[in-house]
Symmetry: C2
Subunit: 158 residues, 2 copies
DNA sequence: TATTGTTATACTCTATAACTATA
DNA sequence: TATAGTTATAGAGTATAACAATA
C-alpha cells in the first residue's frame, strides 16, 4: 500500500468510464450467441464451446471446464449426442474413459456464432474513425495482456 | 454495398485482433458475478439486475427485460421474495399490477458485484501504461457510441 | 372483452448419492 | 481400492396452457 497515490481518484474515475464503455462491447459479444437460440440451450452451447476449444475432452475434463460435476456434464452430453452435435465414444487407451468430439453440425454451429460475432464487430469497426480503431486495438491488447498476467499471479495466491 | 473496398481485408484482420483481445475483457466482466454464486442463481441475478436498472417494474416488464414470459418471471420472483431480496406488492394505481422493487439485501448484492467489477478493472488499468489507458478509453468510448447507433438503426429495420 | 398475474404440467439443468465397470 | 461414468432422485428455470382477478 503506497503512502502517496495522487492518481487514485483519477484512476477510479477512469475505470468507471471504461466500465460503462466496456458494457456495450460485452453486450455485443454476448448477442452473437443468440443465433444458437432454438437449436441448443445456453448450457449446451457452453459445453460445445468447451469441447471445441480443447479438441478432445473426457467427461471429467468437460465438467471441470464447465465448473460442473460429472453427472451434470453426462446429462448434457446425452442431449448433445441425441441432437447429433457431439460424439461420445470409449477411449482407445482406457476403457473407463470417454472421448468427446464435435460432430460436423456442432462445428458448424460454433463457426456460425464466430462468423456472426466477427461480422458485427467488423461493422462497428468500419463505422469508427481510423484513430479510434487504432486506439481501441492498442488499448485492448495492452489490457488483455495485463489482465492475463494479473489473473496468473492471483491464481498462484489462491 | 460499395463497389470498391480496399480496406476490407485489413478491416477483417483488425476485427479479428479486437475480437480476441476483447475476449479477455468479457471474461473479466463476467467473473465479477461469481461473488453472487451460492447466494442466487444466474437467472435470479439477471432478474435482480433488471429490477435494479429500472427502479420499478411490473411482472410483464420484468419478463420483457429477461426475454422470458410472465409465468417464468413470476416463479423467479417467488424465490427472490422468499430469499428476502425482492419486494412484490400490488400497485396503488392498478390492482391488477404488481410493483417489483429491490429490498436492501438485493441492493447490497448488486452493489457488491459492481464494487468487485470496479476494483478488478482498477487493478488492471493501474498496471497499464498511461498511453495504454488513454488509448483504451478513447477506443472504447468511440466503439460504444458507434455500436449503440448501429443497434438503434438495426432495431428500426427489424 | 382485454389485461395482469398465477397456477398446473412438462422438460431441461444441476447437484447429491448410489451404482457399474475398469484399472 | 481408486478412478471414470452413469443412473435415481430432487430442486430450480422455463414454456405452454388453463385459470382468476381487475379494468
Amino acid at each position: 500500500m503506497p503512502a502517496i497515490r495522487p492518481l487514485a481518484h483519477d484512476r477510479g474515475a477512469l475505470s468507471g468510464s471504461v466500465d460503462s464503455a466496456a458494457e456495450q462491447m460485452v453486450r455485443l459479444w454476448a448477442r452473437a450467441e443468440d443465433v444458437a437460440q432454438g437449436q441448443v440451450s445456453p448450457s449446451q452451447l457452453r459445453a460445445l464451446q468447451a469441447v471445441g476449444a480443447h479438441g478432445l475432452l473426457n467427461l471429467n475434463g468437460l465438467a471441470a471446464q464447465l465448473g460442473a460435476i460429472p453427472s451434470s456434464a453426462s446429462r448434457l452430453c446425452d442431449r448433445l449426442v441425441a441432437a447429433g452435435l457431439l460424439d461420445r465414444r470409449v477411449s482407445d487407451h482406457n476403457r473407463r474413459e470417454v472421448v468427446l468430439t464435435l460432430r460436423p453440425d456442432g462445428k458448424r454451429l460454433l463457426a456460425e456464432i464466430e462468423r456472426h460475432r466477427h461480422a458485427t464487430l467488423t461493422d462497428v469497426l468500419g463505422a469508427m474513425t481510423q484513430g479510434g480503431r487504432t486506439a481501441l486495438l492498442r488499448g485492448l491488447e495492452e489490457f488483455s495482456r495485463v489482465a492475463r498476467e494479473i489473473d496468473k499471479s492471483s491464481q498462484h495466491s489462491a
